[in-house]
């Protein structure tokens, strides 16, 4: 089955917010067993390992929707399942349960296609121009041996760009937008600093104007001042482009700066969701309170 793609819609439609990305009851189990393995895991049991099968429940029962132009945060400690959610949406990992819909990606007949049921080749095709990922580790999102220009040319040629001069011009435009010095454009990314590598990842992620970008700890591991610059850039790009974004981070300052709503994850489950300032000032769940307390001292 190949997805029928339709012209994208952005912004408000008929007065109600359209949905760019919808995730329903997403689950990922590493190891033996189906849904029955989930029994006895989660925050109330303080464990992610199934007592019956020994499987690790990466995430379970995770649902959310993101509107065009909106950024949604997912916060939690390492091991809480937030990156698993992202990787299941991106298709880097296969999900065990749930569904994922992307606006405009429909089955023949017009009903929304479940990304999790698409053929691998169709899923990869979505990554070219509809769904982009910026990874914490630039080595995952980029070929470090190749130049910045070459890295960006890859999604462009995959999308059908053929004219060398135009590809080069587009790459240069994107790199200047993400504040990468153009005189370094032909150097291997390996020779770039960490902050610059993230800027190249951003340029590549935006190459074909995707509808949704997934940002997985985009500034973790960078010096504070470099991280601030990259965050600033991400915020500008999100505001300018109207892309829908999911931002995964363990760092409240990142979530606070980029998102207006967020989910808190713990032991693979969503324990709380709310407006970002509400989660920071009036967290309801004991775990959220602990997380905020630890972050705010």
């Amino acid at each position: 089955m190949s997805p029928h793609t339709q012209p994208r819609q952005r912004g408000m439609i008929g007065g109600t917010a359209a949905t760019a990305l919808a995730v329903e009851r997403l689950g990922k189990i590493y190891g033996p067993g189906g849904p029955e393995a989930v029994e006895g895991t989660g925050p109330e049991f303080a464990r992610s390992v199934s007592p019956s099968t020994g499987a690790v429940i990466g995430c379970w029962d995770v649902s959310f929707a993101v509107a065009p132009g909106e950024a949604l945060g997912i916060i939690g400690e390492s091991g809480s399942g937030k990156s698993t959610v992202m990787r299941c949406i991106a298709g880097d990992q296969s999900a065990s349960a749930g569904s994922v819909n992307l606006a405009g990606v429909d089955r023949p007949g017009g009903t929304p296609a479940d990304l999790l049921q698409l053929a691998p080749s169709d899923r990869r095709a979505l990554r070219i121009d509809r769904l982009s990922v910026v990874y914490q580790d630039p080595a995952e999102g980029l070929d470090l041996r190749v130049s910045a220009g070459g890295n960006i040319a890859e999604p462009l040629t995959a999308a059908g760009w053929r004219h060398f001069g135009r590809i080069r011009q587009r790459a240069a435009d994107l790199l200047s937008r993400t504040e990468v010095p153009l005189d370094r454009m032909d150097d291997p990314v390996l020779t770039y600093s960490g902050g610059m590598r993230q800027r190249v990842q951003l340029a590549k992620a935006l190459a074909n104007d995707p509808q949704v970008v997934l940002l997985d700890e985009p500034t973790t591991g960078l010096d504070a001042s470099v991280a601030a610059g990259v965050l600033d850039l991400i915020r500008d790009l999100l505001e300018e482009t109207g892309i829908a974004a999911v931002v995964v981070s363990h760092d409240f300052s990142v979530i606070e700066m980029l998102t207006r709503r967020c989910l808190v994850m713990h032991h693979g489950r969503v324990v709380e969701e709310g407006l970002t300032d509400q989660l920071l000032e009036d967290p309801q769940h004991p775990y959220s309170q602990r997380l905020v307390g630890a972050a705010r001292g």
Partner: protein, 263 residues
């Protein structure tokens, strides 16, 4: 949030923008053995359109909690906050889905505290310009609007390219207010916006706030300043221990001689 239903038949008397009934808020501190701190214990409040309502009372009376419940920075435990949106629909802010609340904040409900939370590495003028763009102002026009409002709150032009972190406390407060009103929201929640201002600048800020209601905004405020309350408020509501203990015009309430602010 999502477990509350949203009936379609909410109503609000024509002249009201906001109507709060039996609002309750308590804080459960799970890290402290589930200790409970009482915030609001059944507050009723009506705010007429284009009016300025001032909340008064001692520290800890619940004034800021009430503003934050309206803004949904705090989650109320019980009660209703009915609000008439720009398109004329009546919604209960306590049960509105997060995304809809976020949209309302982006378009019509503003909150200005005494603390500036500006994005790093941006000059003062840029901070205010971006606030205008975010509130839907035309991009070309936003820079001019920012300049105008910065002049009105008396931020010297030679500071406009400076990062807000380098400003004095009073200057930060004025920049924060400027960002909050550069596009006047329909409902403005002011949480002690002038606590660190010298008399001359306070005067300017009071004029700016008075002008907001004159131009059609509705304001709910907390001022630790009787003079500001007297000059700005159409109605004063006095809170103590999470309850409303008095309400009336500023003249009436002040005549009753209540201790409104810590002396």
């Amino acid at each position: 949030m999502s477990d509350r239903t949203r009936p379609d038949d909410l109503t609000l008397p024509d002249d009201l923008l906001l109507s709060i009934r039996d609002l309750r808020k308590r804080f459960v501190l799970h890290a402290v053995d589930g200790r409970v701190v009482e915030g609001l214990q059944g507050v009723d409040l009506d705010v007429a359109e284009r009016r300025h309502l001032a909340l008064a009372g001692l520290s800890g009376a619940g004034k800021s909690s009430l503003l934050k419940c309206i803004h949904r920075t705090y989650v109320a435990d019980a009660g209703t906050i009915h609000y008439r949106t720009e398109p004329g629909a009546v919604v209960d802010l306590t049960g509105l889905p997060d995304a809809e609340m976020a949209d309302l904040r982006a378009r019509e409900i503003g909150y200005v505290s005494q603390f500036l939370r500006a994005e790093p590495r941006r000059g003062v003028h840029d901070v205010v310009t971006r606030a205008a763009v975010r509130m839907g102002a035309d991009a070309d026009e936003s820079a001019d609007r920012a300049a105008e409002v910065l002049r009105r709150v008396n931020i010297a032009e030679n500071l406009w390219q400076t990062y807000p972190t380098l400003l004095s406390g009073g200057e930060k407060q004025r920049v924060n207010l400027a960002a909050g009103i550069v596009v006047a929201p329909r409902l403005l929640l002011l949480d002690e916006p002038v606590s660190a201002l010298d008399p001359a600048n306070r005067e300017g800020v009071i004029e700016v706030v008075a002008d907001l209601t004159a131009r059609g905004a509705t304001v709910v405020s907390v001022f630790h300043d009787l003079d500001a309350i007297r000059r700005l408020a159409d109605l004063v509501v006095v809170l103590a221990g999470g309850h409303v203990t008095d309400r009336g015009t500023p003249t009436d309430v002040l005549e009753r001689g209540l201790e409104l602010v810590p002396s």
